[in-house]
Each structure stands twice: as C-alpha cells, then as structure tokens.
C-alpha cells in the first residue's frame, strides 16, 4: 500500500473522514428522498454570511457560522411549505441573499484572520484535537435523530399529507430534519469545505438509489458505498498527492458512475434478452 498505513497524517485523517462519511451518507438518504440537495448547497454557502456577521460583530467565527447554517436551514423549513413558492425557488432566494450579505459584510471588514479558502475548500488533513471533539459532538445528535426519526422522515418524503392527516407533527419533523441537515452541513464544511459539502451529502445515496428497495437497504448501501469512496479517495489522494477533500468527492463520483453504469448494463442486458 506504498506507505499509506505508515503515514501518520493519513491515519489521523482516517478517523474524522470515516465519521463524516458515516454521518453524511446516512443523511444523504434523507437529502435525496426529500430533495434537499439544493438546501444542502444553500446552507453550506450560507455559512459565508454567518462568517460575515461574525467578523462584523466580532463574534467567534466557527460557532457563528454553525448557528447561522442551522438558522438558515430552519428558515427554509418555515418558509418553503407556503403557497406560491416552491422549495427550489425559496432555496435560491436564501442562497443568493446569504451570499450577497456575506460578501457585503466581509468587504467592510479586515479579513486577514478569516480562513476564507479553508472554508471554501475545507481541509481533511489538518484536523485539530478541538475539531475532533466538535465533530463527535456534532455527530451524536445527528445519529440520534436518525434513529428516532428515520422512519417518519422516510414516510414524509413519500406522502406528507397523509401523515399530517394521521395526526403526526409533520411540521415539527420537517424542522427537525432541516436543522439536522444544517448541522451535518456544518460538519461537512469543516472537513470538505463549502463547495464539496454537496458531494458528501448527495453522492452516497445517489449511488445507492437505483439498487435500494426500501429505507434500510438504501441506508446500508449508501453507507457502504460512501465508506468505500472515502477510503479509496484518501488512498488515491495519498498516492498521487492530490487535495484530499476534492479527491474523496471525485471518488464518490466515480462510485456513482460505476453504480449507474452497472445498473444500466444489467437493465439493458435484461431488456435485450427479452427481445
């Protein structure tokens, strides 16, 4: 393995990357079922606005960004079910607003202390002890929420109106889902950066989508594919000395493509036989 397992750097990165992969792939099933890919992108970009606010008001940077991401996600949960506005447009509006606000706020401030590119592109290789701690703190509620609400979330994605008619607190579940997605996004941003977060939150379930037959099989499959992609990505990034976050996402893309083509081939062969 050309020294991969001797490399202390990679071994240290393995833990957080695996944790992120587990959390993100678990949530990715919900993200795909509820069509929240754009929400994830919007929320990840909204951390920029949070950063701007933090700089202007001299608040601590990362907590403010995290809180702002969750707040933006909740805001979308509140406004999007309203009549006359589809979620896509609502997310676009918030996305644009948050970015513009972030840029205007940051333009007025001295930005020497802001790790803008660290935020944009993330860095999975330099995780501090503190990051590790926050990561674990973040994944506990996410995984807990998944255990508690995975089935209602799944059922809601299928047919929310019927669930509401059954007396279930659909809106509360939805807000919880959005907040948890926001939290997951913050964790991913810490490691993969704003621009790669969407990949971690979409690709695993997208690869599993065609093969899954239900919630559990989908979940397990996307977990497995995500872990495979992440570990392989780290390895390739070590082998060819490429930026790790982007390589992991590229490998997840490759997994997605392989899964799609395999399905297509199988489907095609079957259809071909029948003629």
């Amino acid at each position: 393995m050309s020294g991969f397992f001797e490399s202390q750097v990679m071994l240290e990165a393995l833990g957080p990357a695996t944790l992120i992969a587990v959390v993100a792939s678990s949530m990715s099933v919900m993200v795909l079922a509820h069509r929240l890919a754009f929400l994830a992108v919007g929320v990840s970009h909204a951390t920029l606005a949070g950063l701007g606010i933090a700089v202007v008001l001299a608040l601590p940077l990362l907590p403010t960004a995290a809180v702002s991401a969750v707040v933006v996600a909740l805001l979308l949960g509140v406004i999007s079910p309203q009549r006359g506005m589809n979620e896509d447009a609502a997310t676009g509006v918030l996305f644009a607003g948050a970015m513009a606000l972030g840029i205007v706020l940051l333009s007025g401030a001295s930005k020497h202390e802001v790790d803008l590119f660290g935020l944009l592109f993330g860095n999975i290789l330099m995780v501090s002890e503190q990051d590790r701690f926050w990561l674990i703190c973040g994944s506990v509620p996410v995984l807990l929420a998944l255990l508690v609400a995975a089935r209602p979330w799944w059922a809601m994605a299928f047919d929310a109106a019927s669930m509401r008619a059954m007396g279930l607190p659909v809106q509360a579940y939805r807000l919880m889902l959005y907040a948890i997605v926001g939290l997951t996004v913050v964790m991913c941003v810490k490691l993969a950066g704003i621009v790669l977060t969407a990949g971690m939150l979409v690709l695993p379930a997208a690869s599993a989508w065609l093969w899954g037959r239900g919630l559990l099989s989908m979940w397990l499959l996307s977990l497995a594919l995500s872990l495979a992609g992440t570990w392989l990505g780290l390895y390739v990034s070590y082998l060819h000395d490429l930026p790790s976050g982007a390589t992991v996402v590229l490998l997840l893309c490759a997994v997605f493509l392989v899964s799609r083509s395999a399905h297509w081939l199988l489907h095609h062969r079957k259809a071909g036989q029948s003629h």
């Binding site: 930005k111 290789l125 330099m126 000395d241 490429l242 976050g245």
Partner: protein
C-alpha cells in the same frame, strides 16, 4: 520522515537558503500557486508533521488552518505583511533566524554565522540597487491593487497614491474606490500601475483602459518567487522586471 525545515512561503525558503545552503528545506506553497487558495496535499501534510522546524510569516499565512501541530515554529513576521520584500525588515530578522538555524544544526553553526555576515552585506547591496532603480518613481509615484509592496515602497520613499484592495485580495472593489483611483491617476499622470504576477490585476487593467491621453505604465512583479530561489535572487528578479518594463 527525516525531519528538516518546512516553510510556508517560497521567500522564507529563500531566506533560509541564504543562511544555510545545505539544510533540508521544503516549501508548502507550490511554485506559481496563490497563497490565498492554498490547499495542503497529503505529502505536504506529512512533511509538516515530521518537520523539526516550521518557518512562517503569520501575518501573511495566518489564514492557513492547521499549522499548529509542530515541534518548533519560528514566526518571522507576525505583524507585517510581505515583509521579506523590504531589505530593512530582512536585515532586522536575519540574526534571529540565524540563531534558530544554529540551534537546529549546531554542527554548522559557524558556517551559518559566516553566511549571516554575508547576507547582511548583500541586503545592503540589494537595497542600494533598488534605490537606484526606483529613482524615476520618486516623482511619479505608484498606484497598486494589492498591498504587497506598499511598506517596501514607502520605505524607499516612493509615493503610493492609492491601494485599491484595502484588506485581503479578492475584494469586490467599491465604486468610490475605483472612482478615486481614476482621479488619482489623472492627478498623477506619470504614476505607475504596480501589479503582481500572481494576482488578478483587473482593476489596474481597467484603469489603464481608462487612461485617456496619458502615458500609463502597468508593471507586474513577483513578490513570492519560487522555492529554491534565494532571497537576493528573488529581489533581483523583481529588479529585472522593473528594468525590463522600464526599458520598453
């Protein structure tokens, strides 16, 4: 890995090489890259982890996250940006750097001490060359987009009429700032537009497009150089750039 010295930016490597040509020194920022969108790769992270000494200039690289986990860190300029471009600042910090290097490799202590002497004199030579080369600018002054060279030029007494980017680079420059720059350029018709090669000097190009009848020169310098270039070489390269443009 085998230890050695890791620097964040190429000019810091140049300073180390100036004092100790035999030392094992690596630079994190790859040649040609922009310090602002630097992303560490696995091998660099490994180098950093195993390094005996990290040399940085935290005013310029403080936004690089995760640089803390090292055995020893020597921070050359915690409160001055692009300070290696100023011979005076270099002269001020070279002895401390030499002391650190001596501690790291005591067996070459004497060589380093000798090199320091030599470096200090060569910095004076560089300074003199710059004062000569900058002579035509004492009247006309400069307008720059990024503030890399601001301190240095001020030290040399070259008037800097305006710096378009106040903070970090990448600012979406506000309309008034742009308008003021336009006015400055008209008020100081000979002013040189002072740019950087690894920096999108879009505002400067725009200014040049709006120069009207006036003769405006746009010069682009290289404040970072490449890893392996010693500090005098870096300064000479920029002198060449200045002379090359001047002769055009």
């Amino acid at each position: 890995s085998a230890g050695g010295i890791v620097t964040t930016l190429p000019p810091l490597t140049g300073l180390v090489l100036l004092l100790d040509a035999d030392v094992d020194v690596h630079c994190l920022l790859p040649p040609g890259a922009d310090a602002h969108d630097f992303q560490i790769t696995p091998r660099q992270a490994q180098l950093l982890k195993g390094a005996d000494l990290l040399i940085r200039s935290s005013y310029d690289d403080r936004h690089w996250s995760g640089l803390r986990s090292n055995k020893q860190v020597f921070d050359l300029w915690p409160d001055q940006g692009h300070a290696w471009l100023s011979p005076r600042a270099v002269r001020d910090r070279l002895p401390a750097l030499a002391a650190t290097l001596q501690k790291l490799s005591p067996q070459r202590s004497e060589q380093i001490a000798a090199a320091l002497e030599h470096a200090l004199t060569s910095s004076k030579v560089v300074e003199a060359a710059w004062i000569m080369a900058l002579a035509p600018l004492y009247e006309s002054g400069v307008i720059m987009q990024h503030n890399a060279w601001q301190t240095t030029l001020r030290e040399f007494g070259v008037p800097v009429w305006g710096v378009l980017e106040t903070g970090h680079h990448g600012d979406d420059i506000g309309p008034r700032q742009l308008e003021n720059a336009l006015e400055l350029m008209r008020k100081h018709p000979g002013a040189v537009l002072w740019g950087n090669q690894r920096h999108p000097d879009r505002a400067l190009y725009w200014l040049r497009e709006h120069r009207g009848e006036a003769e405006v020169k746009l010069l682009r310098f290289d404040p970072l150089g490449d890893c392996g270039m010693t500090w005098p070489q870096l300064m000479q390269r920029n002198l060449d750039l200045l002379a090359g443009h001047a002769s055009q």
